[in-house]
Symmetry: C2
Amino acid sequence: MGTTQLKLSDLARLAGVSTSTASRALNDNPLIKKETRERIQALAKEHHFSINAAASRLRMQKTKVIAVIINLEAETKQSVDDPFLLKVVSDINRAVNRKGYELLLSNSYMAGEDWHGYFISGRRADGVIVVGQGKEQARIERAAKAGTPIVVWGDPKTSANYPIVGSDNFIGGISATKHLIAKGASKLLFMGDPGHAELGERYRGFCHAVEEAQVEAQMVKIDITSEAAYASINALLRAQGLTFDGIFACSDMVALGVLKALKERYVSVPNDVRIVGFDDIAMAQISFPALTTIKQDTSAAAQLLVEKLLSQLSGEKTTSQEIPSSLVIRQSS
Amino acid sequence: MGTTQLKLSDLARLAGVSTSTASRALNDNPLIKKETRERIQALAKEHHFSINAAASRLRMQKTKVIAVIINLEAETKQSVDDPFLLKVVSDINRAVNRKGYELLLSNSYMAGEDWHGYFISGRRADGVIVVGQGKEQARIERAAKAGTPIVVWGDPKTSANYPIVGSDNFIGGISATKHLIAKGASKLLFMGDPGHAELGERYRGFCHAVEEAQVEAQMVKIDITSEAAYASINALLRAQGLTFDGIFACSDMVALGVLKALKERYVSVPNDVRIVGFDDIAMAQISFPALTTIKQDTSAAAQLLVEKLLSQLSGEKTTSQEIPSSLVIRQSS
DNA sequence: GATCTTAATGCAAACGTTTGCAATGATGTT
DNA sequence: AACATCATTGCAAACGTTTGCATTAAGATC
């Protein structure tokens, strides 16, 4: 505390070498004799020396930081507290660390409109991972056009000037719906907001399967929160009674809201109504009945996101990619 | 893209002033004539100019960054995916941003053992917020002793050389238990790990209320995950049948695991067994029956954590502080 | 009109790294 | 013995800000 911060030149003097030698030694540069390197590294450890990242970043023109920005719709009630989003962030954190980068957790509040200026020109991060494609992609596009290394979690089918990684929502939608039908449902209900890119794909899958099987189907457009789902099911039952026997919820949170509403009205799940969710959040297996759902492999996706971003940093061109999702059958269907 | 990065001196030349004037203008320094300031600020906006944070940090010896480190036990299965932890992080993020700071999301993997070296000497952040006190506080203590500005989310009763912010776990434990008793329970069960500081306090509250009311009570020590809780309840029922009619779960995740196990065995909640959790995560109100719980005011806590950290940055001495928790009564009790 | 004060701006040093190039001494080659 | 090669190290510039101090111009005071 009393002593002033040790800097590289101090360490060098302590070791009896020049600053440049010390710098190279700490970076394990083979230019420096091996025993010198080890001696200096040991000395650094002994004195709890850490390189000044600010100075290093200034000189290197690199931060070794990746910014993650949670990109939510203005009109949704879905919040950054959503378990699925947080799971994604947490997986990205792991993947980022494994590559030796740090994670700057950001949002539109801090980054404003000009992401390139804020993160890249501002030397706060070397690249940006956007979680949540949203409905409006202007900011992402602008950043990409300005040359920001950027990757997005979203719907990989969307054509864009930046790579998008996400699940095969269409196929996921199909297999969820087919599963409902296989379990005997014939009057299906989709709950979600098809205007949202990823959810739209899930809905397309739903429609595709419905058409193929020639069963009844309806769609109700809701905000993707359990509260909205809960309220919506209640309204539906009140208005038209039990007009469905299978529900494909666009997310697990929605499915859980549905589940609660049905149980409160003594509708049996899965006997009267079968439910399939999407995401496979931790809650899915701990709900009662446990939730059948389409599992998104967020961990694989996170790794891919980071890899693609790093590729961009080394100048390569990258493309969008779909991650296979998988049906996890539990008791709700 | 083709053009090189605009730097402050370029902007200054464009404006026909010196670099120092430009710098002061962007920082709204009243030394500079108001109209000059505004002219330069407008020019900066027009050219999408952003200050180079690395250079600024180097010169200022300040980063305007706060590191958040999620500090988990080695032996727990509780992960960074735990909804409650993530909620806390997300609230801290908001609070940090409101003060004009950025959030570096970190963990032991990156920061290693020497937090002071990594974050402070390394000029990666100006201060550290630790989420999760854990059982072993050596690293936190060492960092504090080395002069790291640091605050901890945990049990405020623990005496330490750093401030701890957290809920009044003891009182929370009492009111949860009293509520169970008031609802007619007379054979109580506590589930959790009293070895953990915060949970220990909750258990003390439990014991206190039990003693006062002179009711039967038992404790089963489990890891604080829903899986452990689920398994534990099943084992308990198998071994000794239904020997309890009220459960105080040390967290909502634990409570939800309990709930599932009971429902699978057709034990009615709340008729046969009343349950109270702790935290009030989003899931608590969407479970069926909705979970009675002790709500932790994470948002207020986050704000307090940040304020205390900033106080330390400006040299003030800070102290631990308890946040009032509150009983939220729902259908599980 | 000379001097003093004040407002506005510019100069140049400093923050702590990394790295191209030069320098040194040792080794090998003819 | 002269020269080329190689391994190891040091010198000094550059990265882009911020800020104490000096400077200038303009207005105020006598």
